[in-house]
């Protein structure tokens, strides 16, 4: 009798545990969708594409939003900004040319997160063709091309910022995919990106039939602009100019008129006729710039010398000419606020409200294409033609001739002038450091002086000599690999400058 009870109890116990076990194993998450159930319909593919764009607006894992990295990487080391009184010690490291591997702003995780979203789509979307008959090959190609373009854009940022980084072109879907990857040289990554982009070009539409979508999603012109930029970095000037010409010849873009319109159209409203690709912040998703630039919580302000030495002050004309890109557009000179992201009018007297801080992050616009083309053809010896393009940009902005005029007969003179014009045109748009570095490293670092001259302005006086000698080492132009990455990926080798 005892035995019967014992065994039946035992049996009961075993069965119960088995039953509960199977349930546990089969249980699906209540708050999410698993991969096998996703990737079924074209709507889901579209949702995944949207997910890529939204990952650029802000991180889902508590990391900083990408534009915050892009701003600090592109402006923090330049003569355009001064740290505000709330700047963190790590932000000061950028100003002081003293960046350590434990600096949070050297963390590239947010970019790889977006890259992984792209990789996942590129890998899993093709299978949807089988499951959803309404999903066409053309739609698939377009989704893959959009993902490829964004991925290339991310790698282009990584290469310009860190030079050699791990290149992962396959999706990390499960724990098995997590493995250490060594660095790939920046040059090889860019070569790969160029061939990826070329393969994707045909898949992308010229337009989505809607202005906001055309500016917020990757079109074929976004890809052309990105390719032109990569070619310029690779010193392939003819190819770069060809890509620019594709955009110019399309006649879909033009420069916004000068004066008040400029600030309002380009930065306050956004998605202007000049814009090619920008991150679509709106009331539901604010950009990270408001408190960064607001005077009472300022981490970054404009450099005090911009009005005198960059945009210029007209002292010759009775009615002074005023560069439309300076006062009331790029900055508010009276308190050195970076106006592009927080201003609400071009008179400099009205700011956005905190809940209206959705100025877009502009990756590419038509002015950039014209100046990229100018830079490219100037290198191939067409300085006169380049000067005409620069003049178009300057005339639109009502620019002041305050430190000499363009010398369209000299290649090096034009190179210098185009760099200056880019400084005015793209002030605080996260391009300055990359522009200076690209021009400095051209022809095997023939013009490292561009970087040194900038440091002479931006680095505090008691650190300048140290900074000059650091910046003569070209490895110092690239950020260190973040300490956490080095610890978790044992195949990574630190940039030798940060020994």
């Amino acid at each position: 009798m005892n035995k019967v009870i014992k065994y039946s109890l035992l049996l009961l116990a075993i069965t119960t545990s088995l039953v509960s076990c199977t349930k546990w194993i089969d249980l699906k998450p209540n708050d999410g969708i698993i991969r096998e159930e996703f990737w079924q319909t074209k709507e889901q593919v579209q949702a995944a594409v949207n997910g890529i764009y939204s990952s650029m607006l802000g991180s889902t894992s508590g990391d900083l939003a990408l534009p915050e990295y892009f701003f600090i990487w592109g402006e923090g080391r330049t003569d355009m900004v001064t740290p505000g009184f709330k700047a963190s010690p790590q932000e000061y490291e950028f100003v002081n040319v003293n960046i350590q591997p434990n600096n949070n702003y050297t963390n590239w995780r947010a970019l790889y997160q977006t890259i992984n979203y792209c990789n996942t789509l590129i890998e899993l979307a093709p299978a949807v063709l089988k499951n959803d008959a309404t999903f066409t090959k053309a739609q698939l190609d377009q989704a893959v091309a959009e993902a490829t373009t964004i991925r290339s854009l991310m790698y282009f940022y990584l290469v310009r910022t860190f030079r050699d980084v791990p290149m992962k072109l396959t999706a990390t879907i499960s724990d098995e995919n997590i493995q250490p990857i060594p660095k790939t040289s920046g040059d090889s990554i860019l070569t790969q990106m160029v061939s990826d982009l070329k393969a994707s070009e045909a898949g992308l539409p010229y337009t989505y039939g809607n202005v906001n979508t055309d500016k917020g999603r990757v079109t074929r012109f976004t890809l052309n602009a990105l390719l032109a930029d990569i070619y310029l970095w690779q010193e392939k000037y003819a190819e770069s100019a060809t890509e620019c010409d594709k955009i110019i010849a399309s006649n879909r873009y033009g420069l916004v008129g000068g004066n008040n319109n400029l600030f309002n159209a380009l930065y306050y409203q956004g998605n202007s006729s000049e814009s090619i690709f920008e991150l679509q912040y709106d009331a539901n998703k604010l950009n990270p710039f408001y408190y960064m630039h607001l005077a009472s919580t300022r981490r970054w302000g404009a450099s005090a010398r911009l009005m005198d030495e960059v945009f210029g002050v007209d002292i010759l004309n009775a009615i002074p000419k005023v560069d439309a890109r300076g006062d009331g557009c790029a900055l508010r000179p009276s308190d050195l606020t970076i106006w592009k992201y927080v201003g609400a009018n071009s008179y400099g007297n009205s700011m956005r409200a905190p809940d209206q801080s959705f100025a877009h992050w502009i990756f590419y616009r038509y002015a950039d294409v014209l100046l990229m083309k100018a830079e490219a053809i100037n290198q191939t010896g067409k300085s006169l033609e380049a000067s005409r393009l620069v003049k178009t940009i300057r005339d639109r902005a009502n620019a002041v001739d305050f430190n000499g005029t363009m010398d369209s007969t000299s290649k090096s003179g034009m190179e210098d002038f185009i760099l200056q014009e880019r400084q005015r045109e793209f002030a605080f748009e996260g391009k300055r450091w990359y522009d200076v570095l690209r021009n400095a490293k051209r022809n095997n670092y023939a013009k490292v002086s561009y970087i040194l001259n900038m440091a002479a302005i931006s680095v505090p006086s008691d650190r300048q000599q140290v900074a000059f000698n650091k910046l003569r080492d070209k490895n110092s132009h690239y950020l260190p690999i973040y300490l956490y990455e080095l610890q978790t990926n044992n195949l990574l080798v630190q940039n030798p400058f940060y020994k």
């Binding site: 002074p320 000599q465 020994k499």
Partner: protein, 567 residues
């Protein structure tokens, strides 16, 4: 029953066996850590990397430092590698650690240790913030060898690996051993034939001995010298010591403090250990010549001394040669001036200071001399002005400085350049003081006049203030709500008032706040401090006049168009 008992026993045994099989390994696996950290200390790190640091470790052992560097603390250790130590041994003719002079080794260890944790973040153009345990400072910099840049220490060694965090501090690895300076400033200069004239002058003025002593009191030990090479002197037409002496020494002996050669030498010496990175971090340095300062500017990345503007005329300064400067000695550091310079005698000159032409407003062409503009300081830490600040007022909204411009309002229409600066002041809640840095003032005795456009915010407003020069309170008060009394110029001056504008309205008043002797020729600080219990926003400061006491205090007067009138 018997059988059952046996079975129970059997099951119990089986169960406990099973338990043992599974439970015991589990127990073994819990490997409790008994230490709070596995970080090694400095000595431990050197032991762990014996192939690089065995020699330095031996030196620490022999000098009995290994134990204390293995104990709790906060140190920075510059650790030379074995090859560096070998090079050093070869240089000082030592075959091994055992045979080396123990005192030399002890000094060497002390010179490589700092009693604080210093990361490369603190490596600037100049000395580290604290001295080594040996007593001398280390100078940092960066050396570029054509392809790579490395931190250099004392121009003797390069850092090959930096910021290694260990339990009790930080290690920086060096490729060479650092050697402290052995000679004083005097001996170093004497050993260099390029400075023979300067050294001769040092000897004859008695400063050779001053610069040759190493004071045991480290607060007095350090001296900085700006030496002039023979070439710098020759460029000014002084080829020999005799020529230098003939030019300056006008008394019986250069040893006398009133001899100009003595002054010349004293003017080249300043106290404290100041590498170029330290020199440029302060706008002026007091020299051994009483009341005389060297002013410093960084122009195009060069260190320039004594470039000043007096009454609109720029006096060109003297360059300090970077490459041949920053020479550390046992009692200080010396630099190489590119040209000959000496104390300049300047007669006190009046400064009619327009306070509302400050840098920040001049950078706003849309406002400067066109319209008013108000700045708001966001917090006490926020300092938007280079030369103006004020004691924070607890009522945050009153921390505003207004550049007030008008050609029509009574406040500014007769003011110099039609503009003035306006700052709310007064206890309990508004800014409690207003401090401005003046342009350079030549040393001497001055009468100080505060020139303002009177305004009363309300009929009961009152704004009685005291003024301080360089923190010293002046004897007389002034009041922004008071108009200029009636009377002739002479009568007014006698009671401490002037009409500083061409216009005769009594609203524009210059009030004498006292006589002050500026001891040095440089920029000074003027502070206006409200003292009366009153409080108001409209304190319109137009100018401050510094007029030598023996000069005309009344004229010139000033017009709104920016010109002066002498009647």
């Amino acid at each position: 029953m018997q059988v059952n008992m046996k079975k129970i026993l059997f099951y119990t045994l089986a169960a406990s066996l099973l338990l043992m099989v599974f439970a015991i390994p589990a127990c073994k696996k819990t490997d409790l850590k008994m230490s709070t950290t596995e970080d090694v200390n400095i000595t431990g790190y050197l032991e762990k990397n014996a192939d690089s640091f065995s020699l330095f470790k031996q030196i620490l052992d022999r000098t009995e430092n290994a134990a204390f560097l293995n104990a709790y603390g906060a140190y920075t250790c510059f650790a030379p590698t074995n090859s560096g130590v070998k090079k050093w041994f070869a240089k000082i003719n030592v075959s091994s650690v055992e045979t080396a002079d123990i005192n030399v080794l002890k000094d060497m260890v002390k010179f490589h240790l700092l009693t604080d944790t210093i990361t490369t973040n603190s490596f600037k153009d100049g000395k580290l913030p604290i001295p080594t345990m040996f007593g001398q400072y280390l100078v940092t910099g960066v050396l570029f060898d054509g392809t790579n840049s490395s931190y250099s220490i004392n121009r003797q060694a390069l850092v090959t690996q930096s910021n290694i965090k260990v339990g009790n501090g930080i290690i920086h690895v060096l490729d060479n051993v650092l050697e402290p300076a052995k000679l004083t400033i005097s001996k170093q200069l004497e050993a260099n034939p390029n400075y023979s004239i300067f050294v001769q002058a040092m000897k004859e003025t008695g400063y050779y001995d001053v610069l040759n002593t190493v004071d045991q009191d480290t607060t007095k030990r350090w001296i900085t010298v700006l030496a002039e090479s023979n070439k710098a002197l020759a460029d000014s037409g002084i080829a020999t010591y005799a020529a230098l002496k003939a030019k300056y020494s006008k008394t019986s002996s250069p040893l006398l403090v009133n001899d100009s050669l003595h002054m010349y030498m004293a003017y080249h010496i300043t106290s404290g250990v100041k590498f170029l990175g330290d020199i440029i971090s302060s706008p002026s340095h007091i020299t051994f010549q009483p009341q005389e300062v060297l002013t410093v500017q960084l122009i195009n990345q060069e260190v320039i001394i004594n470039q000043n503007e007096f009454n609109g005329i720029v006096e060109k300064g003297i360059l300090v040669n970077r490459k041949t400067s920053d020479n550390a000695a046992t009692n200080g550091v010396w630099h190489d001036a590119n040209a000959h310079f000496t104390v300049k005698y300047r007669a006190p000159t009046a400064l009619y200071w327009d306070v509302s032409s400050f840098t920040e407003i001049m950078k706003l062409p849309a406002y400067y001399k066109k319209q008013s503009y108000t700045w708001t300081r966001q917090s006490e830490a926020d300092q938007p002005f280079k030369d103006i600040t004020w004691g924070w007022g607890s009522l945050a909204g009153t921390n505003t400085l207004t550049y007030s411009y008008s050609t029509t309002s009574s406040i500014a229409m007769y003011a110099y350049n039609n503009d003035c600066n306006v700052l709310p002041m007064g206890l309990p809640a508004r800014p409690v003081s207003w401090t401005m840095t003046t342009p350079p003032i030549i040393k001497g005795k001055y009468k100080i006049w505060i020139c303002y456009a009177q305004q009363k915010q309300s009929s009961s407003s009152n704004m009685l203030c005291q003024v301080a020069a360089n923190g010293e309170l002046l004897s007389r008060t002034m009041n922004f709500t008071e108009t200029r009394p009636a009377g002739t110029d002479a009568e007014l001056e006698a009671i401490g008032w002037i009409r500083y504008t061409e216009n005769v309205t009594t609203q524009y008043a210059g009030k004498l706040v006292g006589v002050y002797e500026f001891k040095t020729t440089q920029s000074h600080k003027i502070t206006i401090i409200p003292i009366g219990g009153g409080t108001q926003n409209n304190n319109n400061l137009d100018m401050i006049h510094f007029i030598p006491i023996d000069q005309d205090q009344i004229l010139p007067r000033f017009r709104p168009d920016g010109t002066k009138v002498f009647l």
